[in-house]
Structure formats: structure tokens, C-alpha cells
Symmetry: C2
Subunit: 600 residues, 2 copies
């Protein structure tokens, strides 16, 4: 049995000294920090993952010791299928509401939305603590916050693999460069009073990354050799056998395809796959083509990365929309967003003839250079159909190796565990079955079964250092609140399960509003009940059904002759039930029935 | 430009002689059938695919010569993502409405829903023509029709690879056994006055099928040698490189997994994958386990197939639910439906603790032995999560080779074309991009580009035999109606695009009904407007927004003082627009606004 509690309801008195509350960034090996003198009950490190253990997305992890907290990542998750109309989901930070002043820093591993997307919504609420992230990540975060508008000015300190941070009294933090599908990705090394913890962030093993330094595996091994208490590691591809492909070999594969193509090349990819984008710039150079960028996020990201030197290209290679018609087709590469079939992105707009200057034509080749996010398969098929109809050729990763995933697969994950040799292991970032698969790999490389911690969102993990120096880790049964916080338009957290349930019911079989106007004195209906239906049956073609429903309503009112408010409620319930059953018997559909009684 | 026409609107006088209208089943080489004496305009074979060229599913093809028609398959399609509440889609047969008496026979290639699912809905409307299909297919069709209720008693003649049918004067039909994931699958050879046509049905190349005879490739080659005018061939896996795996090698793989397992084995698969089911019975025998069947369709199909000898097992191997608890776990295999995450199928019911006798427990292994139908990925992930939480291990086809597809891949498709050497080629059964991919393979094996016909649903393809014996094929620009016919509950074709659009709008942002009661004499509102909202915002937490909306409505009524019906419409439109804009500005959501004006 897991106990859930709301921190809001159990608000404790907060005791924070002034020096505690301030942020101190000392050098890693700065002298003078002594850790001692805590009552055993306080002498514990808590690890709480607020998001990322039951889904892919909304990653956020809290590390807490005494009255100090550091946070790693603050992401968003895209909605599930049964959440119509929801834009995205952010982590629930109720637990931190009365601990704002404990937060000594927020560290962001890299610039993808599932790691940064919650920042604009949450940083204000958390008291705007200092943030630490790579240069590129900082550029992307600043841009996003600027667009969002309602976020305080962030205090961001840029970090790299040489950074050593002292956050509060208890946390010494280092950044460890890792490879992924965007440059400036870091795993986070956290030295705590109970031992060293490594949070992997997102990573793959790539011995020849594109435009990014490879992870220093030798240093990883040295850290492992010095003793690591706990490794939290990326489980995204833990169910995939073998090794991940290197980003550079994708480039080679792309190059082979480019060689054969005479027409325009149109590439759909994520705006955030900047390593891929770099490779495309290199190939453009090699094949004497120029590059046109499409999609706001694509342009933004390329701008940011180019300005800070993370994308290397001669600006003259870029070609604007209005110049495209002047270039021969075999000199053009268009890179755009929308490879997941997103309705408002570049590729969909082109296919729907909604793009101001680009249409597909015979000779074009469209390359889908990204894996398919589960749930988007049908949209992508539709998109590919339309492209082929408009004369383009389509190449996707099923047909050729034109996408390398950004995540470590099983053998890569084992390598990381072998190098780090953690005492405790905790799989993060994945659906539960992925975490379990990762846990099994950990067992295979010899981590003790009772030291492999498969947790749920919000579950509190404690590490306690005894007087003799021995540390024991414990997956407690306590859980902080991690309900979905859904963002829909301007509303954050205001779409309740009731609202969602109603949306689902109406999507399934529509709804019918029945308005009975009743004479307050006699309790009889005035005229015919009004009936409005949407999404149920097409009313013009179902006059008989509607007429029968009207008669049913009139009879109910006549039989019960409502005069008091209690009568009203009774009649409304009766209409809801009887009409609902009647309509089901006639159509085998269950529209939402909304009775309204108006007394005049 | 493609011309669409509705046969209903262009109803021609029908001239059918009594002998024509009757069905004649003569032997293939029966004497006395002479083909001659038609005006050139009639001397054409029409091929019209009513479903299966723009989607996977609702397969149905019409072959028409003079006033005779034969039909191959009559399937259903599962709904697209943007069709909430729809059960499935069946082919549109408007084109056949005034040609019922021309239909000389309906041939069904095999017993999967995308080839038989339209039968109960359509056979009555088509005048219940004679049907021809394999023994197993007949069993499955009879069962489905029986359950459906409203279908006339079908006249089914069972066929096998020795069958030779004369349908009408012009069509001589043979069945060619092919392999797929269910036994009794046939390709159809149709000898017509203009030449021989082969319709592949669904097929894979399997040299060692399970419990099914392998296709006689030598005979296929002989037919090819005798000259084939047109091949219509299965494109489902035309975008997949290489060769499909044999069903028997899957069995071997499963066997290896079974060897290591000590607990219960639970297999999720399609009820229609009877070849897989046979292999599981064989493995049960080998490993001394007994089999428990779950899901109505699974029980039905196994019953049917066992009765007619298509599934071979000792009935004593079957174990009923109430006996399960008496058997040790390592003696149990449970085979059930629901591997696509279908909400009411066996696996989902078990996971949700809704099954009367089976719960998951530690030691169980669940094997997902089917590929994922695009669109079901998220449901399956959720299902796997729950299983793992309940202690079971999960194995799916990503992790091991536990699923062989039922469809030919690129190299297999090329082999079929090489053996048959058709003059014309027409890819069928797939999204448009799959058809195009298949067309490219056809080019690669040397079929002339202008004889590769990539058509759309309903597009008329004509083959004309000139006096000199030369046949020319032509993809015309004429198209018969093939709009979606959607089945929702009892309604067939009554869910219009308007109804669907309304469902989508309400699913996205909900709806709000605004009821203004107005004094007919003065044109003023009586009391406060009633407001009902569902799926938009939670009203109890948004009192201010609701109150402001009420005030807005009152002001609109006051400003316009509606007394005539035209005034009413004006006011309703005004409310719809102004309130819609107001709510969007406040929430960035666009609920459906439904204004009601009641005059008393």
C-alpha cells in the first residue's frame, strides 16, 4: 500500500536560516564545508522523481538533504490518447510549495522539451531559484521563456564539463558530457553527504558523434572507480536489443542517398535534433546544395546554435524562400519540422497547400529522418500518402537507415553500468515496463537485486548513512502528489478529470440537450420541448427519432407535473435516464443527455 | 480531374434476360460457352476496386464484363483517428445498386475481417448472390452472419485449390492456394474474355507453413507461363525490405522461450491467426502443458477450425477456467485476445481485474505474439505497464522474434511477379504510398511502366480487346462513389461528416449551451440566461467567467430586443460569435457555443 499525501495539507512550519536560504556557488573543492551534527532522522538523502517514471516526458527529479534541495530537469509530457484537447502535461510541484527556500539550484541536462518544457510554467512558482545548464540549452530556454511571457527573468549560469558547483552546504555538482541527438548534453554528478549520485540525463554511446565531443568514457570509469552510490539512468530504449547507431553513420547513409538524387531534397526532422541538422549542413556543402529552413522552431534553434558556435556553417549556404525559385532543384535542400505529422508544422502545411511558397512536385524526395513517436503512426501514413500523390518520393527509416535514435540500447546501457559500477541502481525516463527491462539488465551486470530501485513518480527513496559510515538505501512506501497537471490553452491544471471524461463521452457518441419549458403554475409543458443534438445523429435525417423523443419528454413532464425545485430535479433525472435508454435502444449509441427545465 | 458520379443519380434502365439473371455454376472446362458478338463499346472488362486502395481494410473488388459482375472480397476497415465513436467502415456499394442482377458470384479469399466484415451489412442489399470461399472461411462467415442477425441466409459454396467455377457466361474462376496467417487462403484466378487476371488476396511466401499446404509455386509459374494479363497484388508490406519470416520459425522461437519458463504462459494474439494457434497447441503437447482459451472470437474460431479439421489437437488438452486453479502453473498456457490493447478484450479485462477467474501474478509470462496495428501503440504500452506492475514478465516482438507477419515483403513480392510475369500490374491493399512502393518493385522486375496501374478506390480500369486480339488496359478518369460508409451502433452510413466534425470539436474544447428566455412582448430577457457547459471548464471553479458570460448575453439581448424570428436568428448568431470570442480571449479554448432563445 502506498500512502499518498498532499504537501499542501500537511504544511509544516518552515525553519530556514538566512544563510541557508541564500544561494552559494562555491567551487567544487572549496574548503570549509563540513558535514556533521545532524540528528539521524535528518541525516538522510531523499530522492523523489516527480515525473518520468511512468511515461516518457515531464522529467523532473528532486534531491533533498536536510533542508536543501537541488532539482534536475523540468520537462513536459505530450498528452495521452484519452486526453482530448490537452496541450501538454507538466510536473506537479505541490511537494515543493512550502520548500521554495530550500532549493539551491535547478540543473538542466539538455535542451529537449521533455527536460525544459515545464520551466516557464513552474519557475515563478518555485521562487525562481538559480539555474545551471549548457550554453545551447540556455539559448533554447531563454527563447522559450521569452515567448511564454509570464515567467520571471531567469538566473541562468552556463556550465560545461569543467564546471564544479557547490550548491548549498550539501551538494557538490559536476557536469559530465554525454552524447544524444542535440549538443551540450550532460549527465549530472552529485556528491552528497551520503555518497555520489549520477543522473544520466538522456544519452547514447556514440564514439563518433557529429559536431559534439564524445563522452569521456575514461573519466566515467574513473568516477566509477572512486565509488558511486547510485546511478539513475535513461530507460527510453531499454527494451531494444543491441547497440544504438552512431549519428555519423546516419550522415554517411544520407550521403549515399543524396548522391543519387537530382531533384529537391526535403528533410523532415525534429527542430531539436541539432546533430542531424549539422550533418545536413555538411552534406549540403559536399554536394553543392543550399539549405532552406522551415518552421519557426527550426529557425529559432538553428539561429541559437549558430550564434554560439554549436552549428558550424557558412551563412551564405542558407537560402530564403523567395530565392528558391531561382535555384535549380538539384541545388536545394529544405529542412523542416513536422515529421511526426503534427497538424500545424511545415510538412503538413506544404501537403495541404497552405504554405506560402513551397509545393511538392515530381522529382522531390522527402526524407523522414526521425523515429515515430508512438501514437503518431496514422497521421504520418496520411502525410506520406499525400506526398506520394503530389509526386514526391518518400524515404523513411523503415526503408533505410536514415534515423539513429538518441538513446542507449541494451548493450550500451550495460556498458554504462559496467563503467560506473554503482552500488544502487535506479532506472528512470520510461514507461514502467521499460524501467523493469532496464532493471533486468542491471541484474545481468551484477548489481544486487535488492539495490535495484524501480520506483513510481513521487515515491520517496531514502539513503541513510549510519555512524559506521555504511549507507543503506530504501524505497519507501511514501509518495508525494504527482497527479497530471494539464495545460490547455491558458489554463494550467484547471482541466479536471470530469472535464476530460465529458470530452471523451461527447467524442464517442455526441450529446443531446433537451429543454422543457414549463408553466410554473400548472406544471405543464409550454409548446414542444426544444432539442439540440451535436455529434449524435444528423437531425434533419432523423425527424422521427427526434419527434418520439419530444413525446417522451412531454409525457414525463405530464406524469410528474413538477412544481417544486425537488420536482424539477426528479423530472430532469427521469428525462436523462428514460431518454438515454430510449435513444440507446433505437441507435445503440449513448449520447450525453442534458435536460434543462425552464419555469416561466 | 477525376469525375465522380453517383450511380443512384444516373440510374439506367436495366435489361436482364432471365437466363442472365440466374446463377450458373458450370465446370471450368464445360463446353458450350462462346464469347462473341459484342459491340466494341461493350467489349470491355472493367475492374473497380471499391475499397483497399487508400487504406488497409474494407477490401472489395468488382470485375465487370458486359452485364456480368463478379466480386472478390467484402471487408471492413477500422476507423481513422479522426472518427471518434465509429465502429468500422464498410465499402460503398452504391455503384452496384442498379446492377444487382448482374452479380454472378462473390468470392472471398480468406476469413479475416478486412475481407469478410462487410458481408452481413451488404449481402442483403446486393440481392444475396451466391458466394464462394474456403471451408474455414465459410465457417467464420456463417458464425458472423448468425451473430449479426439481419442478414439473409447466405448461399455459400465451399471451394479449394481444385475448384473450377463458371460464373455467368464470361468468368471462369479457379482458386490458387496461398499462405498467410490463417489457413484456407486463396488467390483467385479469373479467366475473362480479355485475358487471365490473378487477384492475390493476402499472401506471404512460406515454404514451411504451419498446418497449411504451401502454395504450389510450380503451378503459379505454369499459370504465368500460359500468359497473365493482369496481376492485382497485396501491398501491405511493400515498404519492408527483405523476406518475410516463415510461420514455423516463429514456432521454433516460441519453443525456445517456452523451454525456459516455469510459470504460466499467457499469449496475446489475434483470434484469426489460426496458424499461430495451431503452433501453440503443438508446443503445449511438446512441453506437457494444457491450453485455456479466452475471448469469444478466439473460442469461436478454434471451434470452427477444429470441427472441420483445420486445427489438429486432442480435445483433452483444452482446460476450462474452473479447472485452472487445480493445475500447477508450469502446466498452463492461456491463449487470449487483446494484444492490440482493445478495451473489452481478454488481456485488458485481466489487467483491470475484470476477469471472473484469471489474475496476473508473479511468475506469469505474457507474450504479445502479433504486430502492432498503427494507432494502437499507446494502448499497448499502457497494457504492458499494468502487466509488469502486476508481476508478470512481458515479451513482445521488439524483444524477440515472436511474430511473423502474414504478408509478403519486397523480395517475396518480386518473386511472385517473376513467376506470374503479368503484362499489367496493379498494386492493391495498402495506403497509397505502399501502392507506389509496390509499383516501383514492379518496375524493378521489368514490368513496363505504362502497364503498372496505381489506382484510387472507385477508379474504373478498362481492358479492351481489339479485333486483332490485342488487349489494351486503361486507367480511366472515371470514378464511382466510394465515400466512407461508417457503422456506428445500429446506424450504417448515417454518421455524416457534420456529425463527426461536431464530435471532434467537442472532444477538443467541449461545448457550452446558452439559454436565453425572452419575454415575447417586450423582447427582454426573463431572469438570468441558463448556461450549461461540458468538457470546457469546470464550472464550479469558474464562476466569474460564467457570470461574465451571462452579462454578455443579457447585454446582447437588451441591445437587439428580438421580437421577430429573424431577430432571434440575429441574436443567436451574435451570441455564438461574441461569446465564442470572449471565451477564447479568456481561456485560449474554442468550445462549441450553442445559443438557444426561448420566447414565452
Amino acid at each position: 500500500m502506498i500512502t499518498k499525501y498532499k504537501s499542501r495539507n500537511r504544511r509544516q512550519p518552515m525553519v530556514v536560516s538566512k544563510t541557508d536560504a541564500g544561494l552559494s556557488h562555491k567551487c567544487f573543492d572549496a574548503p570549509g564545508v563540513k558535514i556533521s551534527g545532524f540528528a539521524p532522522s535528518e541525516n538522510k538523502l531523499k530522492v523523489i522523481v516527480l515525473g518520468g517514471l511512468e511515461e516518457v516526458g515531464r522529467n523532473m527529479t528532486v534531491f533533498e538533504y536536510d533542508k536543501e534541495i537541488i532539482i534536475v530537469d523540468m520537462g513536459l509530457q505530450f498528452p495521452e490518447e484519452d486526453m482530448p484537447g490537452i496541450d501538454y502535461i507538466i510536473p506537479n510541484v505541490d511537494y515543493l510549495d512550502d520548500k521554495k527556500d530550500w532549493i539551491k539550484g535547478v540543473i538542466i541536462t539538455h535542451g529537449h522539451y521533455d527536460h525544459i518544457g515545464g520551466i516557464p510554467h513552474l519557475m515563478g512558482r518555485l521562487g525562481n531559484p538559480n539555474m545551471f545548464m549548457g550554453k545551447l540549452t540556455a539559448g533554447i530556454v531563454r527563447k522559450r521563456v521569452e515567448e511564454f511571457g509570464k515567467c520571471p527573468k531567469l538566473n541562468i549560469q552556463e556550465i560545461n564539463e569543467d564546471s564544479k558547483l557547490q550548491l548549498g552546504k550539501f551538494f557538490r555538482v559536476e557536469a559530465l558530457r554525454v552524447n544524444h541527438s542535440i549538443p551540450d548534453c550532460f549527465a549530472i554528478i552529485i556528491h552528497t553527504p551520503v555518497g555520489t549520485i549520477i543522473h544520466s540525463g538522456d544519452f547514447k554511446i556514440d564514439y563518433s558523434p557529429v559536431n559534439d565531443k564524445p563522452a569521456d568514457l575514461n573519466w566515467v570509469a574513473q568516477i566509477g572507480g572512486a565509488g558511486v552510490l547510485l546511478l539513475l539512468s535513461d530507460s527510453t530504449d531499454a527494451t531494444h536489443v543491441g547497440y544504438q547507431i552512431s549519428e555519423s553513420s546516419i550522415g554517411d547513409e544520407m550521403g549515399k542517398i543524396f548522391e543519387k538524387l537530382e531533384g529537391r531534397i526535403i528533410i523532415g526532422t525534429f527542430a531539436s535534433q541539432l546533430s542531424r541538422v549539422q550533418k545536413l549542413f555538411d552534406l549540403a556543402e559536399k554536394f553543392g546544395r543550399r539549405i532552406n529552413l522551415q518552421g519557426r522552431s527550426m529557425n529559432d534553434n538553428v539561429d541559437i546554435a549558430h550564434q554560439i558556435g554549436y552549428l558550424k556553417f557558412n551563412p551564405r549556404i542558407i537560402v530564403e524562400d523567395h530565392e528558391l525559385s531561382r535555384l535549380p532543384d538539384n541545388k536545394i535542400i529544405i529542412i523542416g519540422t513536422g515529421a511526426q505529422g503534427e497538424s500545424s508544422a511545415f510538412l503538413t502545411r506544404v501537403v495541404n497547400n497552405e504554405h506560402r511558397s513551397i509545393n511538392l512536385k515530381t522529382g522531390d524526395t522527402v526524407i523522414f529522418s526521425s523515429s515515430v513517436i508512438p501514437g503518431n503512426e496514422r497521421s504520418i501514413q496520411t502525410l506520406m500518402d499525400s506526398m506520394v500523390r503530389q509526386g514526391a518520393k518518400v524515404i523513411n527509416y523503415e526503408m533505410m537507415d536514415v534515423h539513429a535514435g538518441g538513446h542507449a540500447k541494451q548493450e550500451d546501457l550495460k556498458l554504462m553500468m559496467r563503467l560506473i559500477k554503482p552500488e544502487y541502481f535506479m532506472p528512470i525516463e520510461g514507461n514502467h515496463y521499460m524501467l523493469r527491462a532496464h532493471a533486468e539488465l542491471a541484474e545481468q551486470v551484477g548489481i544486487a537485486k535488492n539495490k535495484i530501485l524501480v520506483a513510481d513518480n513521487g515515491q520517496i527513496i531514502e539513503f541513510y548513512k549510519a555512524a559506521n559510515g555504511e549507507v543503506s538505501g530504501n524505497l519507501t512506501k511514501d509518495k508525494v502528489l504527482t497527479d497530471y497537471v494539464m495545460v490547455d490553452g491558458l489554463g494550467v491544471g484547471d482541466v479536471s478529470n470530469i472535464v476530460l471524461r465529458d470530452r471523451r463521452v461527447m467524442a464517442e457518441d455526441g450529446m443531446i440537450v433537451i429543454i422543457a419549458t414549463i408553466d410554473a403554475k400548472t406544471g405543464n409543458t409550454i409548446g414542444n420541448p426544444d432539442i439540440i443534438s451535436r455529434g449524435f445523429v444528423y437531425m434533419k435525417e432523423n425527424k422521427e427519432l427526434i419527434q418520439k423523443t419530444r413525446m417522451k419528454v412531454k409525457r414525463i413532464v405530464k406524469d410528474h407535473n413538477p412544481r417544486t425545485p425537488a420536482d424539477n430535479d426528479y423530472v430532469k433525472n427521469k428525462i436523462r435516464n428514460d431518454v438515454g435508454q430510449f435513444l440507446f435502444s433505437q441507435t445503440k449509441r449513448r449520447p450525453m443527455v442534458l435536460p434543462v427545465v425552464i419555469k416561466v
